[in-house]
C-alpha cells in the first residue's frame, strides 16, 4: 500500500531556514532600527542613506528572503503551537490556511513592496 506523499518536509525545511535566518539577522535589525535609533544611541542612518541602501537590488532581494523565510517560520511554528498549546488540531484545515496563507500573503506583499521600491 503506497501512502500519499507527506508534504511536511517542505514546510519544515522552510521553517528551519527561517528560524536560522531570523535568529541571525532580525535581533540586530530590530535593535539598531527600532531601539538604538529612536533612543539616539548611535549615529543613525538618515533618510537619504537608507533610500540609497535600498536602491541596491541585491539588498532588496536579501531583505525579501529574510522577511519571507521569517514569515513562513512563523506560519509553521504557530500552526503547531495552536495544535498542541490550545489542542486545536481538529481544526487543522482552518489553522493551516490561516498560518500558511498568512505567510504567503506576507511573501506576496514583501515581493510587491520591495520590487516597486522607487
Amino acid at each position: 500500500m503506497s501512502r500519499r506523499r507527506c508534504n511536511e518536509p517542505f514546510f519544515w525545511s522552510l521553517f528551519s531556514s527561517g528560524g536560522m535566518i531570523s535568529a541571525l539577522i532580525l535581533p540586530g535589525l530590530v535593535f539598531f532600527l527600532w531601539i538604538a535609533t529612536p533612543l539616539g544611541w548611535w549615529q543613525s542612518p538618515s533618510y537619504a542613506d537608507l533610500v540609497m541602501l535600498l536602491e541596491n537590488p541585491l539588498l532588496r532581494a536579501g531583505l525579501f528572503i529574510v522577511i519571507s523565510l521569517s514569515a513562513v517560520h512563523w506560519g509553521h511554528r504557530f500552526r503547531f503551537t495552536l495544535y498542541d498549546g490550545l489542542q486545536l488540531s481538529h481544526l487543522y484545515g482552518l489553522i493551516a490556511t490561516v498560518c500558511y496563507g498568512g505567510a504567503a500573503l506576507i511573501v506576496c506583499i514583501a515581493a510587491y513592496v520591495l520590487w516597486s521600491f522607487a
Binding site: P27, T37, P45
Partner: protein, 136 residues
C-alpha cells in the same frame, strides 16, 4: 460495585488533558514560550516591510514614522519583541547542534564547537547589519 462496570469489558482510564497542560511543568512552559517567540519573528518581519514602505513614501512621511517609533508604548513593545528574538536565538542555537552531525574526516565536531560557530555567525551578521546601516 461500580454500576457502570461491565465484567468482561472493563474500562481503561484515560485522563482528559487540561487546556493549560503546559503550565503544570516548568519545562513545558518554557517550551510554549519558546514557540511563542515566532510571533516576535512575525512582528519584526512585518514591521521591517512597513519600514521599507515608509521609506518609499517620502521624507515627511518617514519623519512621522520615526516619531511613532519613539513613542513610549511602541518603544516598550519593541523592547519586548527584541527580548523575544533573543530568546528565540538562544533556544534555537542551543538546539541546532543536536540536529546536525558535522564531521571533519572521522572526527565528529562536538556540540559546543557548533554552538560557538553559531554565535560567531550571529556576531558576524550583526556586525554586517551595523556597518551596512551606520549613518555616514
Amino acid at each position: 460495585m461500580n454500576p457502570d462496570y461491565k465484567l468482561y469489558h472493563p474500562k481503561w482510564y484515560r485522563r482528559r488533558i487540561p487546556i493549560f497542560w503546559w503550565l503544570q511543568r516548568l519545562a513545558y512552559t518554557k517550551f510554549i514560550f519558546r514557540e511563542l517567540t515566532s510571533l516576535g519573528v512575525l512582528y519584526a518581519a512585518i514591521l521591517i516591510l512597513v519600514q521599507v514602505w515608509a521609506l518609499s513614501q517620502g521624507e515627511a512621511f518617514y519623519e512621522r514614522w520615526l516619531a511613532w517609533l519613539s513613542w513610549r508604548p511602541v518603544l516598550a513593545l519593541h523592547a519586548l519583541v527584541f527580548l523575544a528574538l533573543i530568546f528565540h536565538l538562544v533556544t534555537w542555537f542551543s538546539l541546532a547542534p543536536k540536529a546536525m552531525v558535522v564531521r571533519l574526516g572521522s572526527w565528529r565536531v562536538p556540540d559546543r564547537v557548533l554552538l560557538l560557530a553559531h554565535y560567531l555567525a550571529w556576531l558576524g551578521a550583526t556586525a554586517l547589519v551595523f556597518w551596512g546601516l551606520k549613518g555616514r
